[in-house]
């Protein structure tokens, strides 16, 4: 009690050790196990696709920053474009042609990020916007590609989910990702799957399919497009899990993840505003 009281009275102004760049770098590091898992399952094509997405994204980002007369050194180094590119490459079906990746990267950075004013101002997750766009625009091109589930089965996805979770735990321990969102996504998906599918096997299948674990730990936990109040994180994550499973069952596209995330992105500012009002009112009454 004493410690907390003195801490409150004499707020220590320790310099922040974590910058936006270091947060993004940690996210990239946390993605490594998942990338390794996918390479092991799907082969080196995955790796080259990620490398291509990354290089192309940095190029596009540099061009857009130049266009908007922003400092290249200051903003290119923040790493947000790199994170978006890698997430995008991971969320597209494992074998997609390079031009689809390029289209997705362009859409993500142009319409998802810089059209709204760059880092921090985008209401939608750029990577998910890019994936959603190519899923809607090129359903034919993506439908001809054998889906990962058919080719490799649940077992492979279980391993990938495990590797993704490993990276997620690293971010949780660094408090870059707060625990409410991932837990809420998994809980929402599990509850929805349990209600809709009944059997434990089907629930497990849903939890490992469609990059759900990756979505829970990293995509839904994107701070810019998510909720900032603790209860808001719960609602936001739960909504994504719920929508994800419902769209998986009844949706028309091969992947429901981007749409679940984008829909909750729409709701996030409203959830945050309402909950923050309640939170402040409650604190004032105490």
């Amino acid at each position: 009690m004493n410690a907390s009281k003195t801490e409150f009275l004499f707020a220590t102004a320790r310099p922040s050790t974590r910058s936006v760049r270091s947060m993004m770098v940690w996210v990239l590091i946390a993605l490594l196990p998942g990338i390794a898992g996918r390479v092991a399952v799907f082969g080196f094509g995955v790796f080259w696709r990620i490398a291509f997405a990354l290089a192309f994204a940095l190029l596009v980002e540099a061009f857009l920053l130049q266009l908007r007369r922003h400092s290249l050194r200051h903003f290119l180094a923040d790493g947000s474009a790199a994170v978006a590119a890698v997430l995008l490459a991971l969320c597209l079906p494992p074998i997609s042609p390079w031009w689809i990746v390029a289209c997705a990267v362009l859409a993500a950075l142009v319409f998802g990020k810089h059209a709204y004013g760059g880092i921090g101002r985008n209401p939608f997750n750029p990577a998910m916007l890019g994936v959603a766009l190519v899923l809607l625009c090129f359903p034919g091109a993506l439908a001809t590609i054998p889906t990962a589930n058919a080719a490799h089965g649940d077992h492979a996805w279980m391993w990938i989910a495990g590797f993704d979770a490993l990276g997620g735990v690293v971010l949780l321990s660094l408090r870059i990702v707060r625990w409410q969102t991932p837990l809420a996504v998994l809980a929402g998906a599990a509850i929805c799957a349990a209600i809709l599918d009944f059997t434990g096997n089907a629930v497990a299948h849903r939890l490992f399919a469609d990059n759900l674990v990756l979505a829970a730990f990293i995509i839904a936990s994107d701070p810019v497009t998510g909720c900032t109040t603790p209860r808001g994180r719960w609602l936001f994550g739960f909504g994504i899990g719920l929508l994800l499973v419902m769209l998986q069952r009844h949706g028309a596209t091969s992947s429901s993840l981007p749409f679940a995330v984008l829909l909750m992105n729409c709701a996030a500012p409203w959830i945050d505003a309402r909950l923050q009002q309640l939170r402040l009112a409650k604190h004032r009454h105490e």
Partner: protein, 153 residues
Amino acid sequence: MDVPADTQVDARASNPMPCIRCGQCVDVCPVALSPLQLLHDIQTQRLSSARRDGLLDCTECGRCDPVCPSRIPLLELFRNGKHALHAEERARAAADAARVRYLARQQRLVSEQGERRQRQAAQTTNAASADAVAAAIERANARRRARNDRPPE
């Protein structure tokens, strides 16, 4: 205690990144504010929104400042915002007081004028009535009688 030196604050203020809404400031705020929301209000020049979102509840404890990964000088911005709000409040209070004074004076002037009119009206009606004329003639006659000690023709 390690209070930030001015140079430190300046270095942080010189090159901040945009807010990425990471929520670290929300987690550390001891009075349950959402500093990132206040920041948005202040940056978009919406002081009334900042007041609604609780800017005046801010104790300026400075906890949000060091945790910000974008190095945004939150404390400084909130202090400035509070100053602006207080200045606005003082200006409004002064304007309110002036208005109250002005209205009271207007009311007083109107009522004074009314009273004066009433008095004048009373005088003129008195002067115009037949009784008053007779009484005045009577008074004048009495004065004359007293002065001349003889009856009028």
